[in-house]
């Protein structure tokens, strides 16, 4: 029994550690900014939502052994496409458009996967190239920030659920992960994805359809990117062709901090999402502390290195 508990703790060290870290950062935030209240919780959730979804998109791809540099640009496309189409739509129409955008995201992701599998060009190169294409497409759809979304749709991210302390953004995120990743994780598909990322030859020999798994992982990445773009539309109320671009590198930072191995196969979905919250909270704290915001990036970078090294050290120490 105790052995089982210890193993459970050991296996979930990354998410547990990150949850503790997030809690202590929140404590720190309250300490330096005593007025911290429901409004701040909501703005944190809103700020972290697109990054958390971008991290989820990257995780789906990296767990299966790939890498996707087109996550940010695809978020931008989903953002401007939905904002442009939804500008005069009602709530029901907006939901229909959202479904369309999700389908487009899955297709765009699957295209990445197919290119990687069929052309055998390195995944970094393929997704870098498609990333440029999506970046251009986003500008073609919407030249400058504009468009819009019905209030009821925006409320999906900006409202609260029941109490003031539970922002809709958190519910949105939890639902997206539960619906998008839950069924995958629990099924043989999830095992196949992780097996492909862990050891492609062994997976192939175990009867896994490796190429299909790769395509599916990129399609899932596309799905979560599209959700991220929709979240951006809901939380900002407009479409911005450049806003999504920065999410690629931040998502990679989040998954690395979140305990996902860039070589594939190891890690989960919770860690990167928690890491997205931590990476969003740090700049906020710096503002509360009135530190020159230009230090923000320096501190964030240092934090990433420290967290990743700390994780590696913990693993090394645990091994006898």
């Amino acid at each position: 029994m105790r052995e089982a508990l210890r193993r459970c703790l050991g296996r979930n060290a990354a998410p547990l550690g990150l949850a503790l870290l997030l809690a202590s950062f929140l404590g720190l935030t309250v300490a330096i900014h005593p007025q911290f209240g429901a409004y701040d919780v909501q703005s944190l959730a809103l700020g972290a939502l697109p990054l958390a979804l971008a991290a989820a998109a990257e995780t789906a791809v990296v767990l299966a052994g790939g890498i996707d540099l087109s996550v940010g640009p695809l978020i931008a496309v989903a953002n401007v496409l939905s904002a442009r189409l939804m500008v005069h739509a009602g709530f029901a129409g907006a939901l229909g458009i959202a479904a369309l955008v999700l389908a487009a995201g899955v297709l765009a992701g699957a295209l990445n996967g197919l290119l990687v599998v069929v052309s055998r060009v390195a995944d970094v190169v393929v997704t870098l190239a498609t990333g440029f294409i999506w970046g251009g497409v986003a500008l073609l759809i919407l030249e400058k920030p504009g468009g819009g979304a019905p209030d009821a749709f925006q409320n999906l991210a900006t409202g609260t659920f029941g109490t003031r302390w539970l922002p809709n953004a958190l519910v949105f995120l939890a639902l997206a992960l539960a619906l998008g990743w839950g069924p995958v994780r629990a099924s043989r598909l999830g095992l196949g994805l992780r097996a492909t990322g862990s050891d492609r030859v062994a997976a192939f020999r175990s009867g896994v359809a490796v190429a299909r798994m790769q395509v599916i992982s990129y399609a899932l990445g596309g799905l979560f990117s599209a959700v991220g773009g929709l979240a951006l539309t809901a939380s900002t109320g407009i479409g911005s062709p450049l806003a999504g671009l920065y999410y690629t590198l931040s998502a990679i930072a989040a998954i690395v901090v979140g305990g996902v191995s860039l070589s594939g196969g190891r890690g989960g979905m919770i860690g990167p999402v928690l890491a997205a919250f931590i990476l969003t909270l740090v700049p906020t704290d710096l503002i509360f502390l009135a530190i020159n915001p230009n230090y923000g990036q320096v501190i964030q970078g240092t934090l990433i290195v420290a967290l990743v090294m700390g994780g590696g050290l913990a693993t090394a120490l645990r091994r006898p």
Binding site: R7, R188, L191, G192, R194, A195, G197, S198, D199, V201, A202, A203, F204, R205, S206, G207, V208, A209, G265, R266
Partner: protein
Amino acid sequence: MEPFETGKEILLTESAVRAPPPLEARALAKRFGAVVALGAADLAVRAGEVHALMGANGAGKSTLVKMLTGALRPDSGTILIAGRPCSFASPAAAREAGVISVYQDPALVPDLTIAENLRLSGVPAGVVRGWLERFGFGALDFAAFARTLQLPTLRLVDLARALASEPLVLVLDEITAALPADLTRLVFDVVREWRGRGRSVLFISHRLAEVSMLCDRATVLRDGVAVGVVAPARGGEEEIVALMLGTRPGAGAGAPAPAQAARRTGRAEPPALEVRGLRAGALLAEVSLTVAPGEVLGLAALEGQGQEMLFACLAGLRRPEAGTILAAGRAARFRHPADAIRAGVALIPADRLHALLHQRSVRENIALPMHRRLGEWGPIAMRRERARVNEAVRRLEIDTRAEQEVRRLSGGNQQKVVIARWLAAGFRVLLCFDPTRGIDIGTKRQIYALIRALGETGAAVLMFTSELSEIALSCDRAVVLFGGRIVAEMPAAEADEERLLRAAHGLAARPEQAA
């Protein structure tokens, strides 16, 4: 060669013999580029038999197995499962058809737990545990990650998983290579029981003793062609060795080895390289050997007997766990390949990919190790460098038409560049690991001649080769490595293929009457 029938057949019912065999291959062929890996391989595994697949290194065993299990597609020929032609697009398809393989490196995904691995291939965990109990691993923790298990355990889990899917034909590829003797016995018991249920096993092994203990019939491959089917049980061992070599049993090797140059004796010089009690990793148990200046020592071994580790230790790629290495009589502790090179020990690896800078020119590749001599800090002394490089190129007859980029050279010429590098830089001991792998016959000859010439100029050469006939052609003396130990030593003149092969299979030397 007629199939060799034995009394074992009595065990099979008439109908089983007449029914189409569970697994049959007809004229399977595969080529990789210009290399024919498999010319035309025929194989039939009957119901209720353990069938061995044998052949020397490079005979095409692994290519055949990969095609039978769906990991590789044949260029031509047919595979029949229970009489029906099948073509497998993937291992999953072969599994579906009833052919399941336990590979040399276990096919368990390291980052999944055992339970997850079983779920991945859709095998009931309870049945797997039942089989594991037979091997004494009933208490194995299925929640453990596969990466945390030892190799023998992994192989048994892999075997249990294969058995649990009830295959028509179970393919065991060197299953015993990583197993201790007691587990090997348990595995054999299970295989016999499996046969008793009328199932079939294709057993691939280097170990003749195991094959004659376990197998009903054996198909022997030589140079990509199935050259015969024999019954190993009753004195078939000699016949298998003969088939593998392409000679009649007892006829000895084809041509006698060329007379070797008289060994310079009576010198007080210490050996150029001496190894005492070297141990490293799981494979290298204890190796001691010496190579005198001017001597070419050949090392023969089957795959996976520890030769890679031995060379890695000697070249400073890996630190041994025990034992000493003496270079020119001085104890050497190589922490890094640079230490070995400084002590005059140079390695020519099997994999030319790792030895050369592929996108750089022939000249740069040859000159690279010289730079620690030719004034490391100043500008490169171009003229001196060019003279030495040209000398090496001339001596080795390297075809320099494509000299701007080494990767555009043929494999043989690339290998010559690797050798030329050390000729230009200078060395005392040259370690050659399978230097002629994948090289055409003409260049091979040149490389043998070169190795001989190096010996005559006073350099010591230790050469591992997977082609046993090379030893008589280019060496002074031969040692045989088996199970991480040197099991035989002989002058090259006596190192005919048959003797080497027997020693490499761990068989004692044949009584003199046959020699």
